[in-house]
């Protein structure tokens, strides 16, 4: 925490300061992006330079600019520190509304649905929940597939880069889920930017152990075209290299597979009054709640800053299209005036 003093200085931004800085960042993203859009329209999808992870490339961590490697390390620190109180904090910060979003996210995806006539030619569904940590989405997916759609063949893999978060999820699964659903659930440690290097979840044995996944210890990988549904809920904004993660999602999905992302977005779809109330709440109340409940102001300061820095609905939709997905309609669905948004894309058949 060498920069703790610097972060402390930024921890109470005035609204005046909040507005201009993200704009600079958005510009950065769109610039990086526009340079590629012409290249990807021609058919052979060559990975553009910005979508190849580079530990020394600058990216943003909240309002700070750090290298991709540094961001990975710091995000790991944030989530290791908040893992225990993560679910409680979500309830407090969103007044419990995140449950509504997550339920909506899962029920509109309708995992496990299969028409009764004729068995599926593509085999049992495999759902990959990236940054799934504490299992919120994965457990809902399992419930929807196994109970609502009565399809026990659906498997769910929870992947996270952080063992501390996965361990919380694993503990919840053993207490909350029926045995049949635990059977269908697996936990892997992986970096979403490179899913070819994974390993099954290793229990954390000592306090001092590194909880962050090291690719050198990988024992397995997720093969190409092996996943029906790739979900990432409130995770993608923490990634060091989002274009790389989107391309990796494209790689592991089967043709016809669906990429679905639930993420905080720009809350400007209702009125500016709502937006400014929302910003007041995020920048004043959330770090305070974090300090009081989780005893960690910095992590929640990072959380709200990273939300502010995340691209708008349209920009993120364009990033998804750039990674080779096709979208339907406008490509996203706003929730609660754009506080969160669901982006969906389908990997087209070649």
């Amino acid at each position: 925490m060498a920069t703790a003093a610097a972060r402390q200085a930024m921890s109470r931004p005035s609204l005046l300061r909040i507005i201009p800085r993200p704009r600079q960042q958005q510009q950065l993203i769109s610039l990086r992006f526009s340079s590629s859009s012409s290249a990807t329209s021609s058919s052979p999808p060559k990975t553009p330079e910005y979508a190849i992870p580079d530990p020394s490339r600058p990216t943003h961590f909240g309002y700070e600019t750090v290298t991709e490697a540094e961001k990975r390390k710091r995000v790991a620190g944030v989530f290791t520190s908040v893992a225990e109180s993560y679910d409680r904090m979500n309830d407090l910060m969103s007044f419990g509304w995140h449950r509504i979003w997550k339920d909506h996210f899962v029920s509109t995806l309708n995992p496990g649905f299969s028409p009764l006539s004729g068995s599926s030619p593509s085999g049992p569904q495999h759902i990959l929940d990236i940054a799934g940590g504490t299992g919120d989405i994965a457990f809902r997916m399992l419930h929807h597939a196994h109970v609502v759609n009565a399809n026990p063949s659906v498997r769910v893999t929870i992947s996270d880069i952080n063992r501390a978060m996965l361990s919380v999820g694993k503990a919840r699964a053993t207490t909350d889920l029926p045995a049949s659903q635990q059977e269908a659930l697996s936990f892997v440690e992986a970096n979403a930017e490179n899913l070819s290097q994974t390993r099954p979840l290793q229990p954390i044995l000592s306090e001092t152990e590194q909880t962050f996944f090291d690719p050198a210890t990988a024992t397995s990988g997720i093969p190409d075209a092996s996943v029906d549904l790739y979900t990432v809920a409130f995770g993608i904004r923490n990634f060091s290299n989002i274009p790389a993660a989107l391309r990796e999602a494209h790689r592991v999905l089967k043709p016809g597979g669906v990429f679905a992302c639930l993420e905080f977005s720009k809350a400007d779809k209702w009125t500016s009054i709502f937006e400014s109330l929302y910003k007041e709440w995020s920048f004043r109340a959330i770090p305070l709640i974090g300090q009081l409940v989780a005893g960690d102001r910095d992590s929640y300061q990072y959380l709200v800053e990273s939300i502010e820095r995340f691209p708008s609905q349209e920009e993120f939709r364009d990033m998804i299209v750039d990674a080779g997905f096709v979208v339907a309609g406008k490509g996203y669905e706003d929730l609660t005036g754009g506080v969160a948004a669901i982006h969906r894309g389908m990997k087209p058949r070649k």
Binding site: D228, G256, A328
Partner: protein, 304 residues
Amino acid sequence: MASAAVTCSAGAARRMLLLPPRPTVTLLRPSVPVTRSLSTTANHSSVCRHSHTQQQSIRSRHIRPESQRTPASQLQTRAYHSHDHPAPPRPFTEAETTLLSAALQHVPEHGFGPEALAHGARDVGLLDISAAVLPDGPFSLIRYHLYAQRTGLAAKKDDLFQGTEAIMTVSEKVEALTWARLRGNEVIIGKWQEALAIMAMPSQAPTAAKELGCLADEIYYLAGDLSVDPSWYTKRASLSAIYAATELFMTTDRSPGFQETRAFLRRRLDEASSLGGAVRSVSQWLSFTGSAAVNVLRSKGVRI
């Protein structure tokens, strides 16, 4: 109030009533040559339409030279047929169209639901989960049916009129087109009640109502109706109501060839035209009486 309405100019009344833009009629500008090619005209379609073979009578309205027009890029799209506004983007992407048109084939058997979508996805080599990419699930399928049927009317037009277009009246054409559209529901009529129920849901009702308005506009456009007075609205509103009622009637009609529905439609259209005639007579009497009253007052020296 009546006197104000009577004395203000036609243009002002048009602005006050927020009427649709008035087409420039040949009679008003006889000296301006027809400069726009047919292909340019076709680009100026609207939300409700994408490509049409256009009637000469409608085309002849395009007599303003290109230089007097605002570039299409600076204009907003319109929810009705407009030759002066750019075409809106297609409401369905290519991937959606492929999936939805395949799914539509399964609707007569499986209804407007996830089954039809999953079967459609399998047909085009996709996965059961692929339909999850659609923004509104089963409603996307209904919306696609409405859209495909509506835009398909233009192609059916020539078959319907079979060269008798010149001698048919607008109301005859409206009836023929409305009937053609209703026949479009024939294959899925067994599942149409559930679709109507989904369309009536609060989250979907605005889209469904807009689509109905577009259909009425499409029918009047194809019938060659050129009215630019308040009847532009009343015609579309009454046709929308008649269409919605007839569509509902059709879901319970068991008569061969849906004759009962046809008769129902004709009765409703007749009623609308006789009611429309009555309204016209009353408003004509009112406007005459109003202007007479104003003139009487003016003759007494009142400054109106």
